[in-house]
Amino acid sequence: MEFLEDRTSQSRSTLALKGDWTVGNAAAIEAAVHSHETKPTEIDASGLGKLDTAGAWLIQKYFAKAKIENMSDRQKALMEFVPDDQQSVPTAKEPPAAVAFFVKIGKRTTGGITFLADLFSFMGEVFLRVFRNIGNPSHFRLAAITRHIHETGVQALPIIGLLGFGISMVISYQGATQLQKFGADIFTIDLTVISLLREMAVLTTAIMFAGRSGSAFAAEIGVMKMRGEIDALKTMGLDPIETLVVPRLLALLVTLPALTFFATVVGLVGCGFMAVLQLDLSVHSYLARVHEVATPTMFFIGMIKAPIFALLITAICAYQGINAQGSAENVGKLTTLAVVQSIFLVIMADALFSIIFAEMDL
């Protein structure tokens, strides 16, 4: 399709516009204009078909200085609609890359420190609510607590059981294949039982917990914050931390240790399964070996971590939820952040526990 026709005579240079100058043809028109080198002083619009804002914008862009003739009234109105000067996107001045790099490091560092400080002060606020109400337990919302215990505990039993069973089978299997080379098969049970009781049961449960319940906490509270429900609570004289965070914390303090215990028991069954299948032990001799290896200290070293992990997960996820900002798209981001941070801190805390217990010779 032709969009331009050169009608330059000796006295004046004229371009005639033809065809539809619309947004669909804009790219072709651009090409046509570029193929006409001459700068016309006059534009003849008598042959112009359809004209829309994109077409008017193109005419303004290339022929602003030319005299335009034979335009209909509507086309003229459209031309007046186009601003005279082409605007550009305002760009913010950015520092050079090297500076920006250090600025980023600095911001991340201070951001991390502020986050930790904020997190601890948030935990303090939560504890304050717990201790304030410890004298009158009727202030704890029993209905909410039971609902959270049901959602985060009872409903998580199948997945946690499966996980505990799977993990202990993997450890037993890997241990057995290595230890069989030395004829030390029986130590597979030592390996699995010790690692299960001390570390694996509580750690896998906590990680699954952060992904399953922590993310739900962050998203639930975050959505409430963005929809103004938290402000609504405040105006009714209800404390958001007391109504939203404390019941979740108390529920998690019950369910995470309980689930850890459950994962341990199922894990021992899984280990026994492997012992019978892989090591040709009888059930009786497997149980005798477990009895020999497992000590109460070992069991409690695992269990004591559970409430601490529960506290970390609830605190971080609730903190992220309550500090949610912006629009709905941020719910996804803050949930991801909450889960990543809580898993990270759980593993850090676990490392700290290992050092402490090692120093204590436990």
Partner: protein, 260 residues
């Protein structure tokens, strides 16, 4: 005047609840039609039906002479270029800034260079009365009125023939709402748009709309504001002769621009 979009004999049911029962609606070229009706009368469902987002139980929607249900994918894509929609809260893509929101349909449907697309998008921003500084803002940084203007700029990106506005002045202060009404009239004048407005704003109905279509008893009743006020149906009477309507009518501001 020719019809740009027609709905014939539309029936919409949700379970046993009948929302539209044999409804007819026509939007003429160049007119501004106000769609009104009480809450739950099915305005939004009708809009979704016209846009092809909701398939009616029976009946047909005809755009540019072709039944929408007979169109293939290529035709539907062509049709999408013919109309622009301003959703109730703007429905700006939250991951993009304002400029990229307006650029998106242009990038998708034209072969222009990116520099030109941005410049064209800035022109659209200017046309709806927003400053160039708005271009780099994210939707959540905009006020309600600005978000709606940005939404209109995006719906105008491809120079549509039909503009659908879902409650464009809801939640705006009277000054911003009046400016928005003026913007709609100006856009219609310059771009020869046909506009369908869903609104509860009586000022918009009186000042901007050429005709009113009201959903009454699951069907459409149309007429100018003056005609609607003379009708005897109790629901129409309640709507157009209520105290709020009388307050708007007391200071007559007649729509002088008329249909193009």
């Amino acid at each position: 005047m020719a019809a740009v979009i027609e709905a014939h004999d539309i029936v919409n049911k949700f379970g046993t609840q009948v929302v539209h029962d044999g409804l007819d609606l026509t939007l003429q070229k160049g007119e501004i039609l106000g769609l009104v009706g009480g809450s739950g009368s099915g305005k939004s469902v009708l809009l979704r039906t016209l846009l092809g987002l909701h398939k009616p139980n029976t009946g047909s929607v005809i755009v540019g002479g072709t039944d929408v249900s007979d169109m293939d994918d290529a035709q539907k894509k062509e049709m999408a270029k013919k109309w622009g929609v301003l959703f109730q809260d703007g429905a700006l893509f939250s991951g993009f800034n304002v400029l990229d929101n307006i650029c998106l349909p242009l990038r998708e449907h034209t072969d222009l260079a990116d520099k030109d697309i941005q410049s064209l998008a800035l022109f659209k921003l200017h046309a709806v009365g927003l400053k160039p500084e708005t271009a780099t803002k994210k939707p959540n940084e905009l006020s309600g009125g600005m978000a709606k203007r940005a939404g209109i700029a995006r719906s105008l990106a491809l120079d549509p023939e039909i503009l659908f506005l879902d409650e464009p002045t809801a939640g705006l202060d009277p000054v911003a709402a009046a400016a928005f009404d003026e913007l709609i009239l100006q856009l219609r004048r310059v771009l020869e748009l046909s506009v369908l407005i869903i609104t509860h704003d009586l000022d918009t109905l009186v000042d901007v709309c050429d005709r009113i279509a009201m959903i009454v008893d699951k069907k459409i009743v149309t007429g100018t504001v003056a005609e609607m006020m003379k009708m005897d149906h109790p629901q129409i009477k309640e709507y157009f002769r209520g105290s709020r309507m009388r307050a708007v009518q007391r200071e007559p501001q007649h729509n002088t621009t008329g249909a193009a």
